[in-house]
Amino acid sequence: MRNPYLYPNGRIGALEKDLLPARTWQMLLSAADSVEASRLLADTWYGRFPGLSQCAFETVFEAAQAASEQELMELSEDRALVRGILHRRDARNARYLWKAALCGGNADGPELEKPGLVEHSLLASALADEEARKLLPAAMSAAAEELSSLSDPSPLEVDRILDRMAAGLELDEFSSMGPGFRRLLETMIDSRNVTTCIRIMLSGSREDLSPGVLLEGGTVSRKAVCGAALEGSLPDFVADIENLERLAPFVKETLSSRSFLELERETERVIMEMLDAGSFELFGPAPLAAFIFKKEMEMNHLRILLAAKAAGMDRARLSRRLPRG
């Protein structure tokens, strides 16, 4: 009857109180500028990181991110979960490095994030070196192999392969996490596919829209999304996707107004609600993963809020994008 998640989930349950409550969001939204917002944040979990009083928000968020990941690694006995969270950063680093190598970036190399579970040097050598490729996770090494076989690829091709790799990595590692969490991932893939379709349609290159540019693993097939988009019945199609029903009017609105702000907001709202619901499966790793996702989302929203406040954006405009308050 040993269950490795009881202690971590108990702790995460208590840590969730560190997430900013709705009232704090309200106060943050009505803050006059970023200085006032930083003063409000000083009383929260973020107050423990140095740099807040100087408004050095990037440092604060980096430290906060590192702290959450540290917590995750200490708590989780589920290697797949840790891998799933940290490999996302490796996938991004792989993109920066491989794209620079294949498409000719600047001389002093691309900017990199700090490594997740794979060292920068290993990633850098993986394109040319078959031995190094063997040390990478399956999805990454497959992508590296595919990339190294291409001759003179365009950035767009490289990106397409890397997009698929990143989504594959995520799905591989997280799918072992029980049905609730799998549903969340599938919904996220669905929403990404819908957004991708809209982005391609709006960029005016309909011929680029093919099932190949979309991600596998959603609740609806790639072909179906693609077909609906080409037929122009995307809003109706979205209305039939489980969990995304609510997005239908916003899809329609985005297609006509070309502004993604509200669609992004609603998508994030759907995912936030699913995260809140999923966090009650107490005997698996899902609450832990949900907690990390929530924290990342919160930081992302704080970044947006602080940037908007620093630029003096008014509250009405901000609340078109921010699914808080």
């Binding site: 960029s203 290159s205 940037a307």
Partner: protein, 212 residues
Amino acid sequence: MAVVVRATRMELQTLRKRSVLARRGHKLLKDKLDELMRQFKILIAEYMGARQKIEGELLEAYREFLFARASMRREALADALRYPGAVAVVHGSTRKVMNLTLPEFDVSMEGSIRNYGMLDTTPELDASLEVFARVLPGIVRLAGQEKAIGILAAEIDRTRRRVNALEYILIPELEEAVSRIRLKLEEIERGNLTRLMKVKKMAERKREGTLL
């Protein structure tokens, strides 16, 4: 007083001619100035309208970009924008307004502006880049207009100085010289006349004396 001349009939003739010429030049220059001003006003109106429109669009794009920047990782944003997919070529040409050569720029773009993956980038980035790309030809055209306005303004300045020089210095001076010469010549005329009358009287008196 600058025009110092000998008071001769020949000088008077030349000065008169110069004065007429100066008047005609003044009129021509004045017409040119008016036309330049008209062109200048047209250009300014065009420029202000275009500029306001572009500024409005840019403001909107920057706001959109702000969201994109805040919700993307710094490295991911740098990566997405490092490999431009579109090539913009600026074409320069000229057009003639009066005798001036004014520059005209135009820009043509090829390729897709969006040249990055979909996974780590936000759609707001698409939207802001789209606006930036749409505004770019306008900005380049604006640069041409701005230069043209500068050239036109310099020309107006020069022409106005010439007009003023003619109107307030050269023409008055010539006229003054002409009138001075005329006065002088009249004086001489009168002197000659009196002298002739005197001589005539003397001659008459002499004849009467001999007759008497």
